[in-house]
Amino acid sequence: MITKSNLYRKEKIYGFLFILPPLLGLLIFTLYPMIYSIYGSFTDWDGLGQMSFIGLSNFKDLWTDELFHKALFNTLFMMLGIPIGIVLALLLALGLNRGVPGTTAFRVIYYVPVISSLAAVSIMWNWAYNGDYGLVNQFLDLFGITGPNWMANKFTVKPALIIMAVWKGVGYTMLLYLAALQSVSRSYYEAAELDGANGFQAFWHITWPMVRPVTFFIIVTNIIGGSQIFTEMNIMTPTGGPEYASASVVFYIWQKAFGNFQMGYASAMAVVLGVFIFVVTLIQFRMNEKQSFDVD
């Protein structure tokens, strides 16, 4: 009896020891900063000295802060890249799934941007978008089109960033779709064929519902990622672009916190952004629950 309980206690301790490192990591690097920044959002902290509590004042200021609204709009606008990316990735995946020769090579080609450093990619695209010498405009020139100076024009800077984001993300999405497509049993298509379904009908009634969980995953992760977009604009338009047309929320947070000594205000924005992401994701999970069905 005694030995058994000793053993049990020992195992329990070992068990806790094993989960301790990630747990500590979560506490120190996630939970603590999170609570700290929530607390900071109610203060006028400048990031250096002491904090004093100012209640909801930061949040009230956010309500009338034009630049914050602009940054929020920009961030939402740039999420237009998400559906574009999904459609492109699915088309690519469908193509590759047919077993065209050189599938592996194409997979690698599409995946290379995913593993490239975002900073390096941004610098490269910045050159490509250069109005005078850029690859993009030289290419357009072949068709007699005079391209704009992409990054210096408030109307083209967001599309330019979207194009780059789609290019960067499409390989990853495609790979997920490819895996999903390959797990769809052939027998469904055979049955559909017997019933006289055409290609599109097979896609719409079998493929699309079957890859639904993947689509859901991609949308959720892309929206979260898209809300936090920062590196691209920081490198490509370090002042926030023409008339602040390419500043994202995180970019504005960073400017306030590290450029203007307003860590408290920046924390308030981070909290708003966090709540936004939480709510949007929650809605998606709810919607997904309602619409899901089992295909067995």
């Binding site: 900063p33 920044s37 400048d46 990031g47 250096l48 109005g131 210096a152 002042t239 450029g259 899901s292």
Partner: protein, 468 residues
């Protein structure tokens, strides 16, 4: 589908991940700050005796382009050789990441012993006890002759608790960076236009006339291949505004004064260079990088030149020289002089050695010699600078212009005076329609002034709070 519990956890993770952004730890509690600040002032010099044989470790954080990094690393090595008991650990970053990294290290309470900082951040750093007061170390030091260092540069790092520019010294200028106007001498000679006078600035009208003559479509394809000038509004508008007798801020540093008609006139002239006179590439045609490239390819007659570019311009296929900026209604040229300070942490364990390193980098003959040879800056020491400028055999011949800017007509950027430069930056964030000729300068300054004033008021309020 995911179970209830599953998604609750993932939700909270999502929330967690998205809020992490802001506070990176940092618990600068008030009491430790205050004591650090007072200690810094009182530290007696004898305490940290430099003749003890134990090794003292310093960390030195700085930034710069590749040429500059190499030069500074070299000087630090030399310093270590001269001071065998001091070991310096170098932390270096690219320019655009520097501010973030420094501020994160301050928030996280791990400030490097010696580091670069922007003169505009001086007040904030002093008020919250980040910077060591260098006054007692420098004024009593027989190796340093403050009279032989640019007054402009040293004053940038003085602060008496109210106004920057006077009082105790919290940093030494790494260098002073006069932003002069350069011109392509070879191009003038080829066009047969008399060279500009290095002592008498052009009037705006004269400037337009000369620049127009040099704006040419060489191959007749309807596209200009050579421009009179290329000015980036962020860095060149000051020269026009100031020389016209206007400014962004009044002398009390509490009121935004861009709604002055003199200001609007200068801004309109700046925009007209592109839209009315067509002597500068349009924004569509050129951002900074491109005007810089055009200048280096010899396709631009006038272009601003900073001392940090001297090593790059060494290899240009044409001859260039410096002149004063064209003068507005005051008849006098104006431009700004940048600077970066080197300061020490108020919490450094080795203040004596930290100051020694600062002095070596900013005020010693040995240090300056090496840095000037690397062609990344003009000398900090006045006598050395005079000698350097007198040598007209190296490019640019009229290096004297740099010195005149520092001593005579250079000014500090308006954001320096205030707790943060947000109000000033907003001016440039919204300026594009004016430069493109879609909004007149008069309309712009009228609509922009209240917005900037609001941000300035906020900065003033923030400053008052930081002193408590």
């Amino acid at each position: 589908m995911l179970k209830k519990k599953g998604w609750l956890t993932s939700m909270s993770l999502v929330l967690a991940a998205s809020v992490v952004l802001a506070g990176c730890g940092g618990n600068n509690n008030a009491s430790s700050n205050d004591t650090a600040a007072t200690n810094a002032g009182n530290t007696t010099k004898k305490e940290a005796s430099s003749d003890s044989k134990e090794t003292k470790n310093l960390t030195f954080m700085f930034r710069g382009g590749t040429d500059e990094q190499k030069a500074y690393e070299g000087v630090v090595k030399q310093f270590e050789a001269d001071h065998p008991n001091v070991k310096v650990k170098i932390i270096v970053t690219a320019a655009d990441q520097y501010a973030t990294k420094l501020k994160a290290s301050i928030t996280g309470n791990s400030v490097p012993d010696v580091f670069y900082f922007e003169s505009g951040d001086l007040k904030a750093y002093v008020n919250s006890g980040v910077l060591l007061d260098l006054t007692s170390y420098i004024e009593g030091n027989s190796n340093i002759n403050l009279d032989n260092i640019w007054k402009y540069g040293v004053d940038l790092y003085r602060y008496d608790g109210n106004m920057a520019g006077q009082g105790n010294i919290y940093g030494m200028p790494k260098d002073v960076g006069p932003f002069a106007l350069g011109y392509n001498k070879t191009m003038f000679e080829a066009a047969g236009i008399p060279l500009p006078d290095k002592d008498k600035p052009y009037t705006w009208d004269e400037f337009i006339k000369v620049a127009k003559q040099l704006t040419i479509d060489k191959d007749g394809d309807g596209k200009l291949d050579q421009f009179g000038a290329g000015f980036n509004v962020n860095w060149a508008l000051q020269a026009f505004v100031w020389s016209n007798g206007a400014d962004w801020i009044d002398s009390t540093k509490t009121k935004v004064t861009i709604d002055d008609p003199k200001f609007a006139e200068a801004l309109q002239f700046f925009a007209d260079m592109q839209n009315k006179y067509g002597i500068t590439p349009s924004t569509e045609q050129a951002q900074t990088l491109d005007t810089y490239q055009r200048w280096m390819k010899g396709e631009m007659a006038f272009f601003p030149v900073g001392p940090w570019d001297m090593s790059t311009y060494e290899k240009l296929p044409f001859d260039y020289d410096l002149i004063p900026y064209p003068a507005g209604s005051t008849g006098k040229s104006a431009t700004w002089t940048g600077s970066l300070g080197i300061g020490a942490s108020a919490k450094t364990k080795n203040p004596e050695e930290a100051v020694e390193l600062i002095n070596y980098l900013t005020a010693s003959k040995e240090g300056m010699d090496a840095l000037v040879k690397a062609k990344v800056q003009i000398p900090n020491l006045v006598d050395m600078a005079t000698e350097w400028a007198a040598d007209t055999t190296t490019k640019p011949a009229n290096k004297e212009e740099f010195l005149q800017i520092v001593e005579d007509y250079g000014r500090v950027l308006p954001g320096h005076y205030t707790y943060n430069a947000e109000w000033y930056n907003l001016f440039f964030t919204d300026i594009q329609p004016v430069i493109d000729g879609k909004v007149t300068a008069a309309e712009y300054v009228k609509s922009e002034q209240p917005k900037m004033q609001k941000l300035l008021d906020k900065a003033i309020e923030q400053e008052a709070k930081s002193k408590k």
